[in-house]
Every structure is written in C-alpha cells, then in structure tokens.
C-alpha cells in the first residue's frame, strides 16, 4: 500500500472510530438510561470494530479499499460542490425546478465530453436540460402532485 491510501485509510477509519466512540459515550451517559439499552449494545460493537479498523489502518494493514487518487479528486470535486450546493441550499432557496435546471446544465457543461467551443454542443445541452425538466415537471408536479418550495421566479 503506498502512502496516500494509507493516510486516507487512517483519516477515514479515524473519523469512523470517532463517531463510534461518540455514539458509545452518548449511549452510556445519556438519560433516561432505559431508552439507550439497545443503542448501548450496538454502540459497544460499533466502537470496538471501528477502533480495530483504525488500528489496522495505522499499522498499514488495511487490505480492502483503494482510497481516492488525486485525479479522482480533481474530477469529482466540481460535481461534488455543485451537488452539495444544489441539495443543501439551491433546492430550498431557489426552488426545486430552478435549482435543478441550473444544476443539470452546469453538470452537463462540466462533464459532457463534447467540445465547449461549438455552438451546436451548447444548443444540445440546453435542449437536453429543457427536455429533462419538462419530464420532471410532468412527473412530479402534474402526475404525482408533489408541492415543492416556492420558486424564486414565481
């Protein structure tokens, strides 16, 4: 195992161990204790396995999981940021349909391999976005009557 995945494994398993220990601590200290009987059982096993995984990662004996390469990170980062903004802010603040239209178009622009320099490419992206949004509106607003938060432009 080279150094990058090893460090990543330590960070990932460390984070899980921290969660496991926190869950165990809360389970054993929170009141009413009777409500935490089952969580205590789970948290004990959870914390033990998480610490075991962390120790193995520190010792460099993790066998499973390739981690993330620098190239993977560079590729996924823009999409990840767009996804986070869309799910945790855009959908509520801009409205579902507005936020989805913007997100869909940005993701196409970021990841579609077609050349950015051709007008045809952009027209195609606009048409695909419009088509997808028409389907989404038909499905969720008209067929399923899902009432989404107010759109910013309405």
């Amino acid at each position: 195992m080279n150094d990058l995945p090893r460090t990543q494994h330590i960070i990932a398993s460390g984070a899980i161990a921290a969660v496991g220990i926190t869950v165990a601590y809360i389970s054993y200290t929170q009141e009413p204790a009777a409500a935490f009987v089952f969580p205590r059982l789970i948290a004990t096993v959870f914390a033990m396995l998480a610490i075991w995984t962390f120790v193995k990662a520190v010792m460099g004996r993790t066998k499973v999981g390739q981690g993330l390469s620098g190239q993977d990170m560079r590729n996924l980062l823009p999409g990840l940021i767009v996804t986070l903004v869309y799910a945790f802010w855009g959908a509520k603040e801009l409205g579902f349909y507005t936020a989805t239209t913007i997100t869909f178009f940005i993701l196409l622009a970021l990841y579609d391999p077609a050349p950015h320099t051709e007008a045809k490419t952009w027209i195609k992206r606009v048409l695909i976005t419009a088509g997808f949004m028409a389907v989404m509106y038909g499905l969720f607003a008209m067929l399923l009557n899902v009432y989404t938060p107010r759109e910013i432009f309405s």
Binding site: I42, A43, V64, N75, L108, F132, F140
Partner: protein, 503 residues
C-alpha cells in the same frame, strides 16, 4: 394453489400497464452501465406513492426482474455488465458477440433468464406460504436473532472485509436508533432537526444507492463510456430456443444454483452467476470451450442470476428479512404502504402479495418477449454521456426524496448519507449491510425490548435469549457465517500473498 385465484388481478388494465412499464423501463435501465437494479428500484419507489400497494409492488417487482436481465445486453454487446449479477455473462456472451453471434447470445440470455426466473418465482410461490406458517413459531427472542442474522450474513458475505461489513451493519443499526425512542419517548442522537423524526428509510435508500454512483460518474471526468457497441445481426428465434433446450445441463445447473443461492440471505446474483458458470464449466464435457464464446456459459450465468430473484424474496415475505439489497429496497416499498411483511402477510394482505408474486411470473415472460424485441436497441442507451446520466439520477434522487414526506430534511439526509457512502465505499465499506442495519434495526430493537420485558418477568435475559433450539440455531448461523467469511478472507489473503511472492 391460492395464487391462481389472484391471477386475474395481474391483467387489469392498470396493473398490466404498470407491469409493461416496469418491464420495458427495467430492460432499458438495466442495459445502462452504472445503473444497478437496486438503485433503479430505489429511484422508482417515490412513483409508487400514489398507487395502490399491489400496483406499486408490481411496478417495483417488474423493474427488479428486468433490470437483472437487461444487464445482459451491455454485458454481451459492450463487455460492461449492466449489474454485478451479469459479470459471468460477459465471459462468453461478449466473445459470442465479437464472433458475430451477438443476436444469438442476447436471445439465449433472455430465454435462459426467463426459464430460470420462472422456476425461481414458482419456488417463491410454493415455499413462501409453507415457511410463513413455520415462522409463526418465532417469538421476540427468535425475531431479534433473525434480524441480527440478516445484518451479519449480508455484512460478512456481501463485503470484501468481514470487519468492515459488520461495521457497516453496526452503522446502519445505529442510524436506525436515531430519533425518538418508541417506549419512553426519549430523544436519541438527534444532532440536527432533519433527523428529529428518525431517518426515513426511502430517502436513505435513494441516497445510499444512487448518490455514490453519481459521484463515481463524476470521478471518471469528461469522458463517454469507452466501449464499442457491437452491431447485432438477425438470428432466427426458433434456433435460439432449440439451442437453449439442447443445453439442458447448463440450464439445470444455472437454475438450481440461482434458486439455492437466492434463498440464502446476503448472497446476491453476482455470486449466483459466477458459481453457476463455474459449476457448469466443471460438469461440461466441452469445458475447454468456456470463455471462447460458448452458449452454455451464457445460459448458466443468465438462468442463475434470474432464478435467484424469486427465492431472494422468500426470507423477506416470510420473516421480514430481506435476502438482498434489492429485496431491502422492496421492503421499503412495502413499508410506505403500511404493509409489514411476516408470517401474517399471506392471511392479512393476500390481495396485495399474490398479485405481486403473480406479476413476477408474468413479468418473466414479458421480460423475455420485450428483451428479444428491444435488446439491440437498448444497448444504445450506453451512448448516453455519463454527464447526462449523473445529472438525471441526481435530479430524480432529490425530487424522489423530497416527495416522500414533502420535507427538505429528507433531501438533506439523502444527500448526506449518499456522500458519506461514496467515501465509505472507496475505503472498502459496503452499502448493503448498512441498509440492512437501517431497515432491520427497528425490528431488532422492538423484539429485543419486548424479549427483555418478558425475560425480566420470567426466566431472566440470559436464559431467555440463549435457550431454545431455534435461538441456538440462529446464533449458530450468525457465528458460522462470520467464521466462514473470516476463513475465506484469510484463505484469499494467503493465496494473494503467495501469488505476490511468486511474481
């Protein structure tokens, strides 16, 4: 023969229309690399809210059946399995396609899938009511151990690392305890208002299965699916039927292996296909031809992965223990309609469960017919750029999660769990045990608390949970599955180390 009484329900215009929709949609989505059957079924659940329970289940069941079969299209024509269940199909299927026998490979794969699938659904029909009667003997302690069994078996057998599989299961069980405690009404682990009512299973399923695939598509950057689609020539369908029925050994092995593996919780179609392929190769007088475009390889793999679909639902419908991740998603589909599977399912909801099972029977035939008709065309969905696929799945995930309870909290939970799962998967953790923990957690806790109350009033907790042959049998299976998986992991490690040393 109660199922025959409800057969007519499958053919009402709405039910049959949904069956067609699920079958054709499932075939197309199944042929799309990157869209797994579990994710497809999870994304479809929000569309079943407005439907009657049996209609929703018919749609989901049809999608499950045909996404598994549809995965063969990309496996054969692109050498990219549409689902893990189709890995074994690529071995001979793609070679056949390269030799100009793409149409023949597709035809025999759909025919073998339908035969295996029909056998599997018949097993479901005849085994489920028997097992459901037997399951009536289960008390709280047995149901508690059964839920733990569900999590540990899938945690150990479905994961490449036993410890990480069990850890995923624990994370799922912990997530299931978030919210208000059922007995005392106490708050547990409510760290954000979005989870004050607990974690809603459907958004969690959508997040855990769909979002990691979206991010995985992002990680591939600005690229198309880099595979050439092989053009399909015409091939007489009668010849394909003759070919399949002349290879009875491969068909029988595939169907038997798939059915048995389907019944074991946690062992999925991927293993069914590979084991059937391997056994068929070992028992064939033409074993040297396997891997060179031999029809028996396709027949064994495809009959196995569809034969496991029906039996994988047996533990779900009788004991509320999903046999596979997709069965876990189907459990979510049942729960949103207020139907809790278990021994009483067939007496309380026969009008829901029998049309659903019957639709899977008819769905196998429809899957074969439409598979043969649209197979060549369906492969073209692989031309759809990954960017479009990722954006479509992301949009559906957000809208689908929101529509469950008209709550932004569900969207946040979906996105947070999905993002976390992507990174967990990169470090060897698996979504299936986590999902099983999340779904089986409330069952395990309710029966644990109920059992503890009975035990305190009678023979004490240790005696209550650790006596009785059924308790011991279940504990033994838990220990055996963990032990077997550890042994397999160590064995594999020893071989890998030896190979490394030789290299």
């Amino acid at each position: 023969m109660e199922f025959l009484y409800y057969m007519g329900d499958v053919f009402t215009p709405i039910n049959f229309g949904l069956l067609l929709l699920g079958t054709i949609g499932g075939l197309i989505l199944g042929a799309t690399p990157g869209l797994s059957p579990t994710m497809t079924v999870a994304l479809m659940i929000p569309f079943t809210f407005k439907l009657a329970p049996e209609q929703g289940l018919i749609l989901l069941g049809a999608a499950y059946t045909s996404t598994v079969a549809g995965g063969a299209v990309s496996a054969i024509l692109l050498k990219i399995p549409g689902a893990p269940a189709n890995i074994a199909t690529t071995l001979d299927g793609h070679t056949m396609a390269q030799k100009g026998e793409g149409a023949k490979a597709l035809q025999i794969s759909f025919i073998a899938s339908a035969i295996g699938g029909l056998f599997g659904v018949f097993l479901l029909i005849f085994l489920t009511p028997v097992l459901a009667t037997w399951a009536l003997a289960f008390g709280p302690s047995e149901l508690f151990w059964l839920a733990i069994l569900g999590v540990t078996v899938i945690g150990t057998l479905d994961s490449s690392s036993v410890v990480k599989g069990l850890l995923s299961g624990c994370i799922g069980l912990w997530l299931a305890t978030i919210g208000f405690d059922d007995i005392m009404g106490a708050q547990r682990f409510i760290f954000h208002s979005s989870v004050s009512g607990g974690i809603n299973v459907i958004p969690a399923l959508i997040g855990l299965f769909a979002i990691p695939q979206v991010i995985a598509m992002f990680a591939k950057g600005r690229s198309n699916v880099d595979a050439e689609i092989i053009v399909v020539q015409r091939h007489p369908i009668g010849d394909a039927f003759r070919e399949v029925f002349s290879r009875k050994r491969a068909l029988a092995i595939g169907t038997a292996v798939g059915s048995i593996i389907g019944l074991i919780p946690g062992v999925g179609g991927q293993i069914a296909g590979l084991v059937a392929y391997d056994q068929s190769k070992k028992m064939s007088p033409e074993s040297a031809k396997f891997g060179t475009g031999h029809p028996e390889g396709v027949i064994a793999a495809e009959s196995a992965n569809n034969a496991m679909v029906g039996p994988s639902l047996v533990p779900l419908l009788t004991l509320s223990i999903p046999g596979s991740p997709t069965a876990a998603v189907l459990l979510g589909g049942l729960l949103i309609h207020g139907i809790f599977p278990g021994p009483a399912l067939f007496t309380q909801y026969p009008e829901v469960v029998w049309p659903f099972i019957n639709s899977m029977l008819i769905g196998q035939i429809l899957m074969c017919v439409f598979g043969l008709l649209i197979a060549g065309w369906a492969a073209n969905v692989a031309r759809v750029p990954r960017a479009v696929m990722a954006a479509v799945v992301l949009g559906l995930a957000v809208f689908g999660s929101y529509s469950v309870g008209h709550s932004m909290g569900d969207v946040y939970v979906m996105a947070a769990l999905g993002l976390a799962m992507y990174f967990l998967e990169r470090f060897g953790f698996s979504a299936a045990p986590l999902v099983l923990g999340l779904i089986l957690g409330p069952i395990a806790e309710a029966n644990f608390m109920q059992g503890a109350m009975i035990a305190n009033a009678t023979i004490g907790q240790m005696a209550y949970f650790f006596t009785g042959w059924l308790n011991w049998l279940l504990i033994l299976i838990v220990v055996a599955s963990v032990g077997y998986s550890i042994w397999m992991e160590l064995r594999q490690r020893r071989y890998t180390t030896k190979e490394d040393a030789q290299a």
